[in-house]
């Protein structure tokens, strides 16, 4: 049951031998334990003193919102988890976290919901008890539920003043028609407005997904493996396994290119998003890894396109590529903000030409090697505290439930050739796989704003 991993053995070896071991991008000694109920614990002791980072990863996010009219519940649920449990009122919970000097919060994405705290090591047991109570015995009244839906609407409102949020929302709804990636993690606005009426559904969401088999506990910092395991067994051992498996609708192949346009009511610079349907996360197949490497080569700050559009011609002031690791096939998206509305088509066409270019041309081997170095050092540089290590692990743990997937992914990067990249680009960057969304200020935006 206890899988103490190879990495720990390395620590016993003389240093001279270390270099001969296969390189691991996640270098920390860790232990992985599975409880009989399906809960998994990953412990990473570090030498950063005093603090412990606790990340509880639930492998359910807005992807799991399969019923029509019920988008946004994974995120709403993240809010409800702070509203009291059987043995701790929200006030008692806050008081305990306050005494622990804790920084405590949570976030939700398409594929996961992550509850995270960093706090003084002396308070570990109390916080494990507190956390277990809400995961095993959450309790909230319909009144408290309705109040919290107001906070969620407030969150939507604060995001909605940003045109990039609207562009993203429209892109998802245009590129996906059946899969739940069609809505953002916030959910559709009409569903958010209906949330106050859906107390029972919120309870059902909890019963489905807040189960040990969906959950992994990550403990990083000034903590021993024995202590972490003992506390996890003590407080989470009674958690009952569930049996719900959602049927996530798969997105049918796209048969023609799609476009959409957003009229923005205020002044803004025009935005363009160009997306192609890409692959899902994989640490055992080359397609995702090949496109991961291509993303910075084709569209990163160091790319020919960025240097042309942003630095030399200065037609765009923002050019970014996004291609997240997702459970299901995800979009490979390039965003640009264009300085002059007259240049929107030019910028769009330059981006399209770049996509097309890499379906034909091989990437330069030196550039590819530099990109591997870039990704590897980037990952290492990000892990500069116990909290940062836990935070870096969480997305991968949601996908494959083990830190080893990181090492497998980076080993895969080492195997990718320029031919792999060209072949993968040609397979995914096809016209019928494409969605383009633009956003621009409505013609009356200026007048409306300045006129009164």
């Amino acid at each position: 049951m206890k899988a103490l991993l190879a990495c720990s053995l390395l620590l016993c070896l003389p240093l001279a031998m270390l270099a001969q071991q296969k390189r691991k991008v996640f270098p920390y000694d860790y232990a992985m334990d599975d409880l009989p109920n399906g809960l998994r614990l990953i412990t990473v002791p570090t030498d950063y003193p005093n603090l412990v980072a606790l990340y509880i990863v639930v492998a359910a996010g807005s992807r799991n919102e399969v019923e029509p009219g019920k988008s946004g519940y994974a995120h709403l649920f993240e809010h409800m988890m702070f509203r009291g449990s059987k043995n701790f009122t929200p006030e008692e919970r806050d008081a305990i976290l306050k005494r622990a000097g804790a920084s405590s919060n949570a976030y939700t994405t398409d594929d996961r919901t992550v509850y995270h705290e960093v706090f003084s090591k002396d308070d570990l047991e109390k916080i494990m008890e507190l956390e277990a109570d809400r995961f095993l015995r959450l309790q909230y009244s319909p009144e408290v539920y309705k109040t919290e839906t107001g906070a969620v609407l407030g969150e939507y409102n604060k995001n909605s003043s940003n045109p990039i949020f609207k562009l993203y929302e429209t892109l998802r709804a245009t590129a996906f028609r059946r899969h739940t990636y069609a809505h953002t993690t916030m959910g559709f606005l009409e569903d958010i407005k209906d949330m106050p009426n859906q107390y029972d559904y919120s309870i059902q969401f909890y019963k489905r997904y807040y189960r040990p088999e969906y959950t992994t506990i990550i403990l990083v910092g000034d903590v021993t493996h024995d202590r972490a395991l003992e506390l996890t067994r003590r407080y989470f051992g009674d958690w009952q396994r569930g049996d719900y498996r959602p049927e996530i609708p798969s997105e049918p192949p796209q048969d023609r290119p799609r476009t959409a346009h957003v009229d923005w009511p205020a002044q803004t610079l025009p935005l363009v998003a160009i997306a192609f349907r890409g692959p899902a996360y994989a640490d055992d197949r080359k397609d995702k890894a090949a496109l991961d490497l291509l993303a910075p080569i084709a569209f990163g700050e160091n790319s020919d396109l960025y240097q042309k559009l942003v630095l030399r011609e200065q037609k765009a002031d923002l050019l970014e590529v996004e291609f997240d690791n997702k459970i299901d096939p995800e979009l490979f998206t390039v965003y640009a903000r264009v300085k002059n509305p007259q240049d929107v088509e030019y910028v769009r066409d330059e981006i399209l030409k770049t996509f097309a270019r890499f379906t034909r041309e091989l990437v330069d081997q030196k550039r590819l090697d530099a990109t591997r170095s870039h990704l590897r050092y980037g990952f290492a540089l990000a892990m500069d505290s116990s909290e940062a290590i836990a935070s870096a692990l969480a997305p991968f743990v949601a996908l494959r439930r083990t830190p080893e997937t990181i090492n497998r992914l980076y080993a895969l990067y080492d195997q990718i050739t320029p031919e792999d990249i060209r072949e993968t680009a040609a397979r995914y960057f096809t016209e019928k796989n494409r969605t383009i969304v633009t956003l621009a200020a409505r013609p009356d935006a200026t007048r409306k704003e300045g006129g009164r």
Partner: protein
């Protein structure tokens, strides 16, 4: 290089941060340093100049920021910016800049493997900047678009928070956004940038901050490289606490938006290192700890009433708070404000929420903290200081700020001061420094005229909820919906958004 990299990462796992932290003020010629040597395989630079937006010449607001951007995001005399990006790419690092009123800092972290390569680049960027026309054109446009689009049109909360500073510091060297004013930026020239660099990037203004596993000789090498800068003279400007016209003033920024953002503040004559700073830090944490449900205001506005996403209070400048949980270091200032940040509410609830925030603030001034709240907040801050300083970069940043404020290491300072603090100190500090008779309030909303009329007329603002509320809340609401906001009509102005930061 790869072999070396693996060994070093594993060394980190083995020996990790058995860090020996100390703050050393080393004189090497004129150059001050703050050093945190340890055995980490990462090396962090924070190269700080004691200059910033408060030193923008009148009519040239934005020059300090544009100069810093030209250094960190522009080419050198011998390399174009494209070449710098290319050189940094395999190192997976960058060189960033931040300009505040009195501090300009350049920072970045590199793996020890790449220390020499990285340092060679940033040395050239800082000491031999190219000030090229094409970079100037791009970075000036970026600065203007930041103010015109990112702030005015994309983020109501930051717009309101930043405008609040401009209102409080009108006619003061702090009185413009760190990025400048749109109309002034449009007129800046490359010669202005060269001139600002020559006058302000001096040895006297420089503090080299360095942390990590750098070799011992590295510091003296850096000091001798930076001796190339002109000597200059130490800045001795004293910035006064602004004297506000008595009475509360409200500015309502009008822009098309779904919701209403509110910021409230006033200047305080207390900065880190002053005798009452620990007491006020404790008050701000109790009343509105940043992004935490552990605070009074958040409980009353969000948790009990569900009116918005969060409600916080501050005694130090904390920009970009919607994107981060802990503040960036190196925003040290002689002058600070007390600030309340009410996150966006539904427009129909704006008047009520403003009253609620003022009602709670008045209660804080009247009643102070209880012993229980005091003890709990003290314990929180005593431990939370470890969270604030958990990365090497944060430790270095705080160490530089401690040098500025003339206090010991930040964690030690906070713990020792809190240990001595009493409830009486805290409640006395509230009475002495916090006030409710001359507030400055900034609101961002679409129907500004209607909100203005409601505020000026002191019209009742009844609230309805989607869920039943406890009787004591409904009783309290009855008082709040008529709670007077003491403001003269001529002190409530509507400002079109395009005039902000202009």
């Amino acid at each position: 290089m790869r072999r070396n990299f693996t060994a070093l990462v594993l060394l980190c796992a083995l020996f990790g941060p058995a860090m020996v932290f100390g703050q050393t003020k080393m004189k090497d010629g004129q150059i001050a340093t703050v050093l945190l040597p340890n055995r980490s395989p990462l090396v962090t630079f924070r190269i700080l100049f004691n200059t910033g937006a408060a030193f923008d010449p009148p009519g040239k607001e934005g020059l300090a920021s544009l100069t810093a951007a030209m250094i960190a995001k522009g080419g050198t005399r011998t390399r174009s910016y494209e070449e710098i990006v290319e050189a940094m790419y395999p190192l997976a690092t960058s060189f960033e800049w931040q300009v505040d009123k009195e501090m300009t800092v350049f920072y970045g972290t590199t793996h020890l493997d790449n220390l020499e390569r990285y340092y060679a680049l940033i040395r050239e960027m800082l000491l031999d900047p190219g000030f090229r026309e094409e970079d100037f054109k791009r970075l000036k446009a970026d600065a203007i678009n930041f103010l015109k689009i990112n702030l005015r049109q994309s983020n109501d909360e930051e717009l309101g928070k930043e405008h609040l500073y401009n209102v409080i510091y009108a006619d003061h060297p702090y009185g413009h956004h760190n990025m400048g004013r749109v109309s002034a930026l449009e007129k800046l020239s490359l010669d202005d940038v060269r001139d600002f660099y020559r006058r302000n990037y001096t040895q006297a203004n420089l503090v080299i901050g360095l942390a990590g596993g750098y070799p011992p000789a590295f510091v003296s090498k850096m000091a001798s490289d930076f001796a190339k800068l002109p000597l200059g003279e130490r800045t001795t400007v004293r910035f006064a606490t602004p004297k506000l016209e008595p009475g509360t003033h409200i500015e309502i920024i009008r822009r098309p938006t779904r919701s209403t953002a509110i910021s409230i503040g006033f200047p305080i004559a207390v900065k880190r290192g002053d005798p009452d700073w620990p007491a006020l830090a404790l008050v701000a944490s109790y009343f509105g700890q940043h992004r935490s449900s552990n605070s009074y205001l958040y409980q009353r506005i969000r948790e009990l009433r569900g009116l918005n996403y969060g409600d916080y209070a501050y005694i130090e400048y904390f920009p970009r708070g919607m994107f981060q949980f802990t503040p960036d270091p190196n925003l040290a200032r002689q002058q600070q404000i007390f600030q309340i940040w009410i996150r966006p509410v539904e427009p129909q609830n704006a008047h009520f929420t403003l009253r609620l925030a003022l009602y709670e603030f008045d209660k804080l001034l009247r009643d102070g903290l209880t012993r229980e709240s005091f003890e709990a907040t003290r314990e929180f801050l005593t431990k939370y200081v470890d969270v604030l300083t958990q990365t090497q970069d944060a430790q270095l940043g705080y160490a530089l700020d401690s040098r500025y404020y003339r206090i010991p290491d930040f964690a030690t300072y906070v713990r020792e001061q809190l240990k001595r603090l009493t409830l009486e100190d805290v409640n006395r500090a509230i009475r002495k420094h916090l006030r409710n008779d001359s507030l400055r309030i900034v609101i961002v909303t679409e129907d500004a005229d209607a909100l203005r009329a409601a505020i000026v007329g002191n019209r009742p603002s009844p609230i309805t909820y989607t869920s039943p509320k406890p009787r004591e809340i409904l009783e309290e609401d009855k008082a709040i919906e008529k709670y007077p906001i003491n403001v003269k009509p001529e002190h409530v102005r509507v400002v079109p958004v395009e005039r902000v930061f202009e």
